[in-house]
């Protein structure tokens, strides 16, 4: 579709970022490009980034919202480090993001927004368009706003409303640059604004205007094509972490033959799980927006006692509030899935940023010896698997399970090979029915599950609660030996799960110089950097833990096969502490607590340092 004067170049991998004011629709633009990329057939990974919850003043640095996307014809694991293209809708966006653009990278700016006022808000004394700011970059200046206004001239619409389509112009321009067709976005616009035809017209027009404008840009002599990636055979969709998590829950409920009960209270970045589930009511899913997090988890525990697959989700501060109730769930040995979509802490912290700093809280944030199963998804689509497995463990072992997601995984997206329901493992749930043999605190061999005797079952009337329980009967019991025994029992109940999960197996050689051990959302950065190091000939392997409590049975053995262990974490060394304490291995941490994921380069440099040093 490019004209005669332009050439097309093939690339293996590209990283682009849309950045603008919170009001500029950058998240939508990014998502559209992502969907288009997914349908086109590239592998991809995304990183949305937006200001803390509330709207910052227009044009201010605090108000910048961005969406980053890496796409490739090969398997990729991260949204990319340095940018090939930055779209900056205003000076603030330029200011915040320009440093991430690689040398000679392309930056497109909407000159219409480079007003004195905006420049000042962004802290520019002199307009960057007028000094040497872009000496090392390829600057493309476009008055997008004006071009859109002209294109929409004939529409009966306020200028302000017209300007709202400017993001579609930018999207169109990028479609052109990467040789895409626009159908996916035209379809989307048409569906989304079905009731407002004039908005459809405006947006589609702006989109096409941007696309066709590309050809007129003198400065761009080349467009790019990133060929399709080779995926395993299957049907794919693009999916975000929170969405995948919700689907994993629904799937588990279906596979277990149970109703799903969700009790929770909105909090960034976990709220979307509630929003998704609330839309699945025809699956019999009950969503209960409680008065606070405590009521959220308590309602879930109550629902669990009464026989539903019960779930609650929150983020750090909300999980802190649930600590007391989680102790009760541990004591009463009821199935429960608790999701923590981690964000920057401590306290209110950085609500929209990502972090892995709630691992300690998950492990230890309750009174008494109160062990809890902890699992963590590694990527957006992995949320499906991990939530499904969390439900399976909770139900089959009669135990609460904590899932540690994070803002990066939850809001990021990637292509996902869609599983079929038939292929998912069955979840075996047996509710007790027989009054003869019934003992509320008898425990099955292997799973160490106690019977699930739900109210409504004749003859199984019994009482549970938070006071120490007598083994077998479950009656309140103050005997010292029983208490000691039950504490060991609760620990054993968690430990026994190690017999039901796969052994650890590193990516790369089974022994060598360095093992990079990770968990959760750092998977992509670690895997990319390990691959890079392997390619550079270093003896480095990657082990990524899904199961953090209990660890895989052979973890100690695996660790012992490497001379050194590196644990990159978005915290000050929480998994490190656990590993060091348990295995007395001198694991080194790579620790960053900046509200941002690792870049591949950061991890790579540390790997180099360790294999060399």
């Amino acid at each position: 579709m490019s004209d005669q004067n332009k050439t097309v170049e093939e690339l293996d991998v590209v990283t682009i970022r849309f950045a603008g004011d919170s009001g500029d629709g950058m998240q939508l633009t990014g998502t559209q490009f992502t969907d288009n990329t997914a349908l086109f057939g590239n592998d991809l990974s995304t990183l949305p980034d937006y200001p803390a919850e509330i709207r910052a003043p227009a044009g201010s640095l605090a108000g910048v919202s961005s969406f980053q996307l890496q796409f490739s014809n090969q398997e990729i694991h991260t949204p990319g480090d340095d940018l090939d293209v930055l779209v900056a809708m205003n000076p603030a966006a330029l200011k915040v993001h320009l440093a991430d653009l690689q040398e000679n990278g392309m930056v497109m700016v909407n000159t219409a927004n480079f007003s004195k006022k905006n420049l000042k808000l962004a802290g520019y004394e002199v307009s960057p368009l007028e000094d040497n700011t872009f000496d090392n970059y390829r600057l493309i200046e476009v008055d997008m706003t004006k071009l859109v206004a002209t294109a929409l001239e004939n529409l009966d619409m306020s200028p302000k409303l017209k300007a709202r389509s400017t993001n579609m112009f930018a999207l169109g321009l990028l479609y052109w640059l990467y040789e895409r067709d626009m159908d996916s976005s035209i379809n989307f616009i048409t569906k989304k604004f079905a009731k407002k035809p004039e908005i459809i017209t405006a947006n589609v027009k702006a989109l096409k205007t941007g696309y066709f404008y590309g050809e007129t840009i003198e400065a761009i002599k080349t467009t790019y094509r990133v060929p399709k990636a080779e995926f395993s055979k299957g049907t794919y969709r693009n999916i975000m972490g929170n969405h995948a998590a919700a689907l994993g829950l629904v799937a588990a409920a279906e596979k277990a033959g149970l109703n799903l009960f969700y009790g929770g209270y909105p909090i960034t970045p976990a709220s979307d799980i509630l929003h998704y589930l609330a839309n699945f009511k025809n699956f019999g899913i009950k969503t209960f927006q409680a008065e606070d997090e405590i009521a959220g988890v308590c309602s879930a525990i109550g629902a669990s006692f009464a026989g539903d697959l019960a779930v609650t989700a929150s983020s750090g501060p909300g999980i802190a509030l649930k600590g007391e109730a989680l102790g009760l769930a541990v004591m009463t040995e009821l199935p429960l899935v608790v999701i923590n979509v981690q964000r920057g802490g401590p306290s209110t912290g950085l609500p929209t940023k990502t972090e892995q700093s709630d691992l300690f809280q998950a492990m230890y944030g309750r009174n008494g010896e109160c062990p809890m199963v902890v699992v963590a998804p590694a990527t957006p689509s992995d949320c499906f698997n991990v939530l499904f497995e969390a439900c399976k463990i909770a139900l089959e072992h009669m135990i609460p399970v904590m899932v540690l997601s994070d803002g990066y995984v939850a809001n990021g997206s990637e292509p996902w090979m869609i599983p079929t329901v038939d292929d998912l493992p069955q979840i075996k749930v047996t509710k007790a029915t027989d009054p003869e043999s019934f003992m509320p605190y008898s425990h099955a061999e292997g799973t160490v599950a106690r019977p699930w005797a739900v109210p409504g079952t004749p003859g199984l009337e019994h009482r549970i609660g938070g006071l120490e329980k007598e083994d077998q009967t479950g009656n309140v019991n103050y005997d010292p030996d029983n208490h000691h025994y039950m504490n060991l029992h609760r620990q054993n109940k968690v430990d026994a799960i190690a017999n039901y999960i796969p052994e650890a197996k590193a990516y790369g050689d089974d022994s060598g110089e360095l093992l990079v051990l990770g968990w959760g959302g750092t998977h992509g950065a670690i895997r990319s950097s390990v691959e890079r190091a392997q390619k550079a000939g270093h003896s480095v392997s990657h082990l990524h833990l899904r199961h953090i409590n209990p660890f895989p049975k052979n973890l100690g053995e695996v660790l012992s096969n490497y001379k050194k262990v590196l644990i990159p974490e978005l915290n000050l060394g929480q998994l490190s502490t656990m590993i060091r304490a348990k295995f007395l291995v001198d694991a080194q941490g790579l620790n960053k607590v900046a509200g941002k994921p690792f870049t591949t380069t950061e991890v790579y440099n540390k790997i180099l340092q360790m294999v060399k040093g």
């Binding site: 794919y236 999916i239 009521a295 006692f305 109210p455 009337e461 009482r463």
Partner: protein, 337 residues
């Protein structure tokens, strides 16, 4: 709602095998007896009862009842009960709580469960003290209360539980007294028959840490003057000689000494459906010379949260069809390799 029962249950069916561990003389015994008496008469299958409590002397209640029971954590019983009721709307769910459990740490859950109008029953044992922790004042203790934690007297004005319940939007608000066995039984029954959240305040004597808190309302010598027994459709009269009545003058409820001129016909007739009147009656609690009302202050039929949820799930199926998991997982934008 629980279906009607075939077999006949008796009091004994509801006595558990656990030793009752309240202090001798505690008012909780009478309440336990009343509940064990009433439950067999409710037409609910034994296995469909669930009693949820928090923490406190009162909250040990479930252990003594041979039903399903959950002795949860302090103050949160309404939340557990809500989850259980929504998981299984067939259950007859009862919350047993204290003035500390229900109105101090648990105040928020209480007001929310009441506004939501889940179909469950709350029995709040009000002894105006923290019993289990050995005698600190509670949010219903009178101002100036001398306790372990307030040796010079407490500084906070107590809650009036029915006023708070009404202020929360409760659809059933009643009060009874541990010493009035019959009255208590009838109120418990009526709370059960109310479809919606029922709040029952039970004045309960803690003979160890707050003995005689309601003596004026329970002792023979005074109770006729201090109790105003509300009965639907009946005039609000009280007094040893049934010679006093309640009248509304402007916005004020006032005691009328009955005489030939002004007799029972001048007295207010209790209508538990009158929310405004309920608001005023609740205000009569330990209020100057006015008697304190017991009985059903207020009762309103309003759709319950649980039935609305059931209906919503059904209507989702009706409009979208039953969930198709494969389709849901697939979504609308896919590509195939």
């Amino acid at each position: 709602m629980a279906e009607v029962l075939e077999t006949t249950l008796t009091r004994k069916d509801f006595v558990s095998d656990q030793e009752v561990r309240w202090c001798p003389g505690c008012g909780d015994y009478a309440i336990l007896a009343a509940v064990q008496k009433v439950f067999p008469e409710l037409g609910v299958k034994k296995e469909n009862f669930l009693i949820v409590s928090g923490i406190g002397c009162s909250s040990r209640f479930p252990y003594y009842m041979d039903t399903y029971g959950f002795h949860s954590i302090h103050g949160r019983a309404p939340a557990f009960a809500s989850g259980a009721k929504l998981a299984n709307p067939d259950l007859s769910v009862w919350i047993v709580t204290g003035d500390g459990d229900g109105m101090s740490i648990g105040g928020n859950h209480l007001i929310h469960v009441l506004r939501r109008n889940l179909d469950l029953n709350i029995l709040m044992f009000n002894n105006r003290i923290y019993g289990l922790t050995k005698g600190q004042y509670s949010p219903t203790s009178e101002l100036g209360k001398v306790t372990k934690s307030t040796p010079m007297g407490s500084l906070d004005h107590p809650f009036n539980p029915p006023s708070l319940a009404l202020g929360s939007g409760a659809t059933f608000v009643a009060r009874t007294i541990d010493r009035e066995l019959k009255h208590m039984a009838s109120i418990i029954k009526e709370s059960h028959s109310h479809k919606g959240g029922s709040f029952v305040e039970i004045y309960q004597n803690c003979n160890i840490f707050n003995d005689g808190a309601f003596a004026d309302m329970t002792e023979k010598e005074t109770k006729m003057e201090t109790q105003l027994i509300l009965e639907q459709g009946q005039p609000m009269i009280f007094g040893k000689d049934k010679d006093k009545g309640i009248v509304l003058i402007g916005s004020q409820l006032t005691v009328l000494q009955l005489s030939e001129d002004r007799n029972v016909d001048d007295v207010l007739v209790h209508n538990s459906g009158d929310k405004n009147m309920a608001r005023l009656l609740a205000g009569m609690t330990y209020n100057g010379d006015l008697p304190t009302p017991i009985g059903v202050l207020y009762k309103e039929e309003r759709a319950t949260y649980d039935e609305m949820m059931t209906a919503q799930l059904q209507s989702a199926i009706d409009s979208k069809g039953p969930g198709d998991l494969d389709a849901l997982i697939k979504g609308s934008n896919t590509w195939t390799v």
